[in-house]
């Protein structure tokens, strides 16, 4: 919190905001207020690296000039620390947090480009009385901001900002419209009108004179694809495995035992296979009374010598947890319930760090959208005819949306269609929401500058929209609710930059599958879903799917 215009921070508000996040960090916590009460920092800690009290935040550097609150993990922190030490820097802890302070002192805002990891942090520089704020390139870690013109408040949760009592709970129609269109709230909007998401891959300063200034974009997924030289010196499958192995190794950096969320899918299995060779792994698989992939995952885990836990979830537990799910769900979303239960299982087993295969489809082109979207853009008429023949409800909108990548993507990923919103939200909210949201322009930003190839465009759209707004957000709130940190070795800017040259034309998931046993490799792709329809007593909803009904149920808990 920074009262940059005038006045002072309310300590009670700072503490209320921090307290909302106790499940995220049950191990320790603290707050700090500047002498003049203009600046306040609060933190909750989930200790993963350097478990000692030296890791507690807010954390000062040894000179006591810089103070930081940091959410996330820096996987190359040892390397960065070595470089800083060679330059004479001193440290009082072994944490990655303190490395951020050293890097800031040496490189200023440019420090973000050297970080491999997931992060959201704020550093207050007492020498210059200004705050430096940054969020990771993919947006793995959330970061939200509310600026009322006098005080800027920043936190990892929308609900934390409103928990302080000074940020209004008013719904943002753009967030509401976005939720029903896509199943999650598209950044930079949130479900609250006065809170916005800080853009991933950017940083800025706050000072008393200018408020937010020196905004800087240091990373763009679209740019990586645009700049990728089309070359492949190494056999593509070999290179993908080699680079993935390196990424997984980086993501294992920890002083606590490591788990893996193992479905019987290719991505999580490939990650587990690599990680199992480096460390003793605990794997977790969900099994539902109605549907289960557990036998395959169990067999695989046995073959790799991993300690495997299959967690069975039934209707009663789901219904029993539902109030808490809605309470911890930071923003409305149609997904995340699976992560909720698997994280619950990890927590029950005493594991607070787990790897996930999230991001493999976005990186290597595993979704149908990689085929469908470019096709819809090239042949919108054909798509319309085919859609009409199949009586697809979206077919009628292909004329309007089918000709551009952003439009085709909206159709591909759409949950409800724009002309259905008035029925759900009311005409006024729907109209204002669409006007503020401008979904096509919102999507367009993901592919500026032009990534240059159909694959690059869809990959940038999937990574900047579905993955960021939906998958990563859900992975975050649903795991942190159980004090479990999820790490995503397939969502990694180093990996992306390394693989982009060979991915620019075409992705290929078979590289990941090559080392897996036949019973995993030859399966058809299945979703990782929870039998919501069976459990939720969801009403039949005309032509809509179970997810559409679930979306309405979720909405009731926020509206």
């Amino acid at each position: 919190m920074f009262a940059y215009r005038s006045g002072a921070i309310d300590r009670a508000e700072l503490e209320a905001i921090t307290a909302r996040m106790i499940p995220r960090g049950p191990d320790a916590g603290g707050t700090w207020l500047s002498d003049d009460q203009r600046i306040g920092l609060g933190s909750r800690r989930l200790a993963i690296i350097d478990l000692s009290a030296e890791g507690t935040q807010p954390m000062w550097d040894v000179q006591r000039e810089l103070v930081i609150v940091f959410n996330g993990e820096i996987y190359n922190h040892a390397e960065l620390r070595a470089s800083l030490t060679r330059g004479g820097a001193q440290f009082h802890s072994r944490t990655d947090t303190e490395v951020l302070l050293g890097l800031y002192r040496r490189d200023g805002a440019r420090m973000t480009e050297l970080l491999r990891g997931m992060f959201a942090f704020a550093i207050f520089d007492t020498r210059m009385r200004r705050m430096f704020v940054a969020r990771d390139p993919y947006g793995i870690k959330p970061l939200y901001l509310a600026d009322d013109g006098a005080t800027i408040r920043i936190a990892s949760e929308v609900k934390a900002l409103t928990a302080g009592g000074r940020v209004s709970n008013a719904i943002d129609p753009a967030g509401a419209a976005g939720f029903f269109l896509t199943g999650s709230v598209p950044e930079p909007f949130t479900i609250r009108r006065h809170v916005r998401a800080i853009e991933p891959g950017t940083s800025f300063f706050i000072d008393e004179e200018r408020g937010i200034n020196e905004q800087r974009r240091y990373f763009s997924i679209a740019e990586v694809f645009r700049d990728a030289k089309d070359d492949a010196l190494v056999d593509p499958a070999v290179f993908v495995r080699e680079r993935l192995e390196e990424s997984v190794t980086h993501h294992l950096v920890a002083d606590v035992p490591v788990g893996v969320f193992l479905s019987a899918g290719i991505d999580s299995s490939a990650i587990a296979r690599i990680a199992a060779r480096k460390t003793l792994l605990h794997t977790f698989t969900l099994s539902f009374t109605e549907f289960s992939e557990a036998p395959l995952a169990e067999r695989f885990a046995r073959e790799l010598g991993m300690s495997q836990i299959t967690r069975v979830v039934g209707r009663d537990e789901f219904l029993g947890d539902l109030p808490r799910i809605f309470e911890r769900m930071d923003q409305p979303t149609i997904d995340g319930v699976n992560t909720w239960f698997i994280s619950k299982a990890a927590h029950e087993a005493g594991i607070k760090l787990a790897l996930s295969g999230l991001g493999g489809d976005e990186l290597l082109g595993g979704y149908p959208s990689f085929r469908n979207v470019p096709r819809m853009v090239r042949f919108p008429r054909l798509a319309r005819v085919v859609g009409a023949l199949r009586r697809h409800p979206k077919a009628r909108l292909i004329r309007e949306y089918g000709g551009t990548y952003a439009g085709a993507y909206l159709l591909q990923r759409g949950l409800f269609l724009p002309d259905e919103l008035p029925d759900i939200l009311g005409a006024d909210v729907a109209r204002e929401g669409m006007e503020r949201l401008q979904p096509l322009e919102n999507f367009e930003r993901a592919i500026e500058p032009d990534p240059g190839t159909p694959f690059g465009r869809v990959a940038a759209l999937e990574s900047s929209l579905y993955m960021r707004n939906q998958l990563l957000r859900d992975a975050d709130w649903a795991s942190m609710a159980h004090s479990v940190e999820v790490r995503t070795p397939l969502v990694d800017v180093y990996l992306l930059r390394q693989l982009a040259p060979m991915l620019a034309q075409q992705g290929d998931k078979s590289a990941l599958a090559a080392d897996l046993p036949d019973y995993l490799r030859d399966r058809k792709k299945t979703g990782f879903f929870v039998p919501m329809k069976e459990w939720g007593n969801l009403p039949p909803d005309g032509t809509s799917t179970r997810m559409r009904s679930w979306a309405r149920r979720v909405w009731e808990s926020f509206a």
């Binding site: 470089s83 060679r86 050297l114 010196l233 190494v234 056999d235 495995r241 080699e242 930059r497």
Partner: protein, 346 residues
């Protein structure tokens, strides 16, 4: 022991592979080695006494096949195939195959499984080749050697400083071919970060090739043309002096099988920055001898250059040959080569 060694080139050849082949012959001094080359470019110096060099095999396909068929009639204790491209003619013997770099990084239809073993200049090349070929036989790593006595920290030559206008400058150096088809040395990346380095830092690119005009254009576009120096081809006799002009040897490459140039630079007391994505990593003993960067991250390249320059500024007399470089001395190379041959010949 009678050894037949099929090579692309060795004596009277240029470049890293020819050098490696000559070194391997020199290392196996207790064997009688017959070398059949595909190419002889320059004049052939006298090979060591234990080596028979069939230079006439390089006189065209007919002469080559004649030499091979003569060799087939002889008895050998071990056949070494010095290049993956020669494997089709060597398969017959179940040879020991030597792999160097990118030629072995991509899938090709070649009977690798027939080899009795693989010798690779780096673990990286070994792993990449075993990755696509699924080769599971014995695989040895034999990194290049550097003759430390041929290098060393020397007085900087005034004529070179004047020629390249290096007075008062801090010099980054890369030595390598400017190949427009490959573009994997990392010249582009260093030119890009030059903008963000202090004005007195210049970049010297030493080597010939057809990509110079493109790189010059890039430097102009970025406004750093006056800070990029192209030496063109240089004589072998000037090499050590050229290295001695540099403050930092930097090569954020993606295509080096090993990166012999790093050994040369370090043998001249020049701190080296290599790539994490190719064999340069092993030339720096995984970072023990110098800094490693990801060539796809400009910020990392820049930070490593700045840090290396800064350390030099703190202790200007600190030019030194890094401890541990003797790992790559010729004596160690020879001992490794002999051990490999002894195991492979059994």
């Amino acid at each position: 022991m009678n050894v037949l060694f099929l090579v692309t080139d060795a004596y009277g050849g240029y470049g890293g592979i020819a050098l490696f082949n000559r070194e391997l012959c020199a290392a196996l001094r207790d064997a009688r080695i017959t070398v059949i080359p595909r190419i002889v470019r320059g004049s052939v110096p006298d090979p060591p006494p234990h080596v028979t060099f069939i230079a006439e095999a390089a006189n065209g396909p007919a002469a080559y096949l004649r030499a091979i068929s003569n060799a087939r009639r002889a008895k050998w204790d071990l056949i070494i195939c010095g290049h993956i491209n020669l494997l089709p003619v060597a398969t017959f013997w179940r040879p020991l195959l030597v792999v160097h770099g990118i030629e072995a990084w991509k899938k090709r239809k070649i009977p690798i499984a027939q080899c009795r073993g693989i010798v690779s200049v780096s673990a990286l090349t070994r792993d990449r080749m075993c990755g696509w070929s699924r080769y599971a036989g014995p695989a040895y790593v034999l990194p290049n050697a550097v003759h430390l006595e041929q290098y060393g920290i020397r007085e900087q030559r005034a004529d070179l400083i004047a020629r390249y206008r290096l007075e008062g400058k801090r010099v980054l150096l890369t030595v390598g071919r400017l190949d427009s088809a490959e573009r994997s040395k990392g010249f582009d990346e260093v030119i890009d970060v030059l903008r963000d380095l202090p004005e007195d830092v210049v970049y010297m690119i030493a080597g010939g090739g057809d990509d110079a005009s493109r790189l010059q254009a890039r430097a102009r576009e970025l406004g750093v043309a006056s800070r990029v120096i192209f030496t063109g081809l240089f004589g072998e006799e000037d090499k050590a002096d050229l290295y001695n002009l540099a403050d930092v040897y930097v090569m954020p490459s993606r295509g080096e099988g090993f990166g012999f140039v790093f050994l040369e630079a370090m043998a001249c007391g020049v701190p080296a920055i290599a790539s994490k994505l190719d064999g340069g990593r092993e030339a720096l003993l995984n970072g023990k001898l110098g800094a490693l960067v990801d060539p796809t991250n400009r910020a990392e390249i820049r930070a490593a250059i700045l840090e290396t320059l800064e350390r030099r500024a703190l202790a200007p007399s600190s030019r030194r040959i890094p401890e541990g470089l003797e790992h790559f001395s010729f004596e160690n190379f020879a001992a490794r080569a002999q051990a490999i041959i002894a195991r492979a010949a059994v």
